[in-house]
């Protein structure tokens, strides 16, 4: 007897069952990504994928290398997270399939990145070799770069990278004291403009509409401001001499800046070497106040509606978080989320905020109105928390 037709028929039947099974599977798992995010587990090279509607972890992905000072940006469809590791690793995570889609090592020492206006380029900012590199967002193939060679043979660490309208990226050069603006319309031949900024810019931000780029200065009291609509006017200095010539307090961790600093027409910025949050009117860039806080501010983040600003602190005050009411212009609450609070992330409309506490291995979710804990999620030495809502924001 010839068994071949029988075997073929059985195999065909099995195949039908398998295909039917696969086709059925996605239906039960079908979901959006608008309420997903990731929590970086810095010491173990892993991330957790989280759901901020249900306040739960959906799983852990390992093998991302050195994630100290890791940062993430998102594809504009909100499906993929691009995670930039300290060791130069760039990992593209599929939030739906919950796996690593692609991973490359693109530099020796990296601190973050951003995605282009059209979503096609992912750009990394690097300390070593100093500069920025652009990658195809689908394949992670390198398509362009701007070495931060500010003088012959001298390369600077790059900080504060932010995407800006027009396929542009603005960033600051820590060692050169400059702001550079690169146009990646032709990724293989980016055009770069340079602006003198001031001593030791430590981070930067672009305002929510994409018009202004600001670089905070460590080496002097002030902030460098560039109007991206009128770059020919050059950098102007705001908050000049805010330290009033007083002795700086020691800074045991550098503050961070990002577009979340702007709330209700004012920018809330960390002072450097002073335990204050500086408040600037964004219409005329004049200082309109300063709010005393318990330590050196690191993240000064406005709730999306701008009514509150949450602040965490550098060592040794890093077990506390303070909440500023922007109408009162004062601290209204002090929270203790755990030891070594490293980061905070608001839900897109700000009813809750997730706070990581590295040395207590947990993330606490707070109701921002009542400041009551809504959930506590275990995590290994958590640091950055990044939600997909960033995908739709300029400068993230």
């Amino acid at each position: 007897m010839n068994w071949r037709p029988v075997i073929a028929r059985v195999l065909a039947g099995l195949a039908t069952i398998v295909v039917a099974g696969c086709a059925g599977q996605p239906v039960t798992d079908l979901r959006g990504t608008g309420d997903l995010g990731i929590v970086i587990e810095r010491a173990s090279g892993s991330v957790q994928i989280v759901d901020h509607s249900r306040r739960q972890s959906l799983g852990r992905i390992e093998g991302l290398g050195d994630l100290s000072h890791a940062h993430a940006t998102f594809s504009r469809d909100g499906r993929y997270a691009y995670v930039f590791g300290r060791d130069g690793g760039l990992t593209k995570i599929d939030l739906l399939a919950r796996r690593i889609d692609r991973r490359i090592v693109q530099a020796g020492n990296s601190i973050g990145g951003s995605i282009s206006q059209d979503g096609r380029l992912v750009v990394a900012q690097n300390y070593q070799p100093g500069g920025i590199k652009a990658f195809d967002a689908d394949t992670l193939a390198q398509v362009g770069e701007v070495p931060a060679e500010y003088a012959p043979g001298k390369f600077s660490k790059v900080v504060g990278l932010a995407d800006i309208p027009g396929q542009g990226f603005a960033y600051a050069l820590f060692d050169a004291g400059e702001i550079w603006v690169s146009d990646f319309t032709d990724p293989g031949a980016p055009r770069t403009r340079r602006f003198a900024a001031g001593k030791q810019p430590y981070d930067g931000l672009v305002t929510p509409g994409g018009r202004y780029f600001m670089a905070g200065l460590f080496g002097e009291d002030g902030i460098a401001l560039l109007d991206l609509w009128r770059p020919e006017q050059g950098v102007r200095r705001i908050l000049d001499g805010y330290g009033r010539g007083e002795e700086k307090l020691p800074v045991f961790k550098m503050p961070h800046l990002r577009g979340w600093a702007v709330a209700d027409g004012k920018a809330y910025l960390p002072a450097v070497g002073r335990h204050e949050v500086l408040v600037v009117d964004v219409t005329d860039w004049q200082e309109v106040g300063r709010i005393p806080v318990v330590g050196q501010p690191v993240f000064v983040m406005a709730r999306p509606d701008g009514r509150q600003v949450w602040v965490n602190f550098a060592f040794p005050d890093n077990a506390l978080v303070q909440v500023i009411d922007t109408l009162e212009g004062a601290v209204v609450d002090t929270l203790s989320p755990g030891r070594a609070v490293l980061h905070m992330e608001f839900t897109p409309r700000g009813e809750a905020v997730w706070v990581s506490a590295r040395d207590d291995d947990r993330v606490t979710v707070y109701d921002t109105a009542t400041r009551k804990s809504l959930a506590v999620l275990p995590a290994r030495a958590p640091s950055g928390i990044f939600f997909t809502a960033r995908a739709a924001r300029i400068g993230f």
Partner: protein, 141 residues
């Protein structure tokens, strides 16, 4: 609430002590004096009062996590320079101890003398020069 109040009071005291610190010039002088004294008494590889086991673990965690904010968790450098043995080769232990304790004026490096004693700074430097230990698997990372 009382714990927070106590913490705030303590922090106010800290701030007070910050204000007691002198100018950059004075820091530079302190740096030089500490360096000189350390060189004279020969503090190097073996400090007089080495930290005990649990304190060592705390110091290792502090170096990797808090110094690591600038120097990297693996100490290969970040905004601050690398602290790996090959990067520190040729630098004297005394100079490094002085840097840990009183910082480097004109750079982002603060002094850590509020948090570590001279002997502890000497132990940290010794460990850095040998290749810094990982945070104990049983303790904090």
């Amino acid at each position: 609430m009382t714990a927070i109040k106590a913490a705030q009071t303590a922090r106010f005291d800290n701030r007070h002590s910050y204000l007691m610190e002198g100018s950059v010039v004075r820091l530079a002088i302190i740096h030089a004096v500490v360096l000189l004294v350390l060189t004279l008494i020969g503090v190097g590889t073996a400090g007089a009062a080495e930290p005990d086991g649990s304190r060592r673990q705390a110091l290792v965690a502090m170096v990797r996590q808090d110094c690591g904010s600038c120097h990297g968790l693996t100490l290969k450098g970040g905004l601050g320079p690398a602290l790996l043995p090959e990067a520190l080769a040729g630098k004297s232990a005394g100079s490094l101890i002085a840097t840990v304790l009183s910082g480097r004026p004109g750079t982002a490096m603060p002094g850590w003398s509020r948090f570590v004693s001279e002997a502890e700074a000497a132990w940290i430097v010794d460990q850095l020069l040998r290749g810094f230990p990982p945070v104990d698997a049983g303790g904090r990372r």
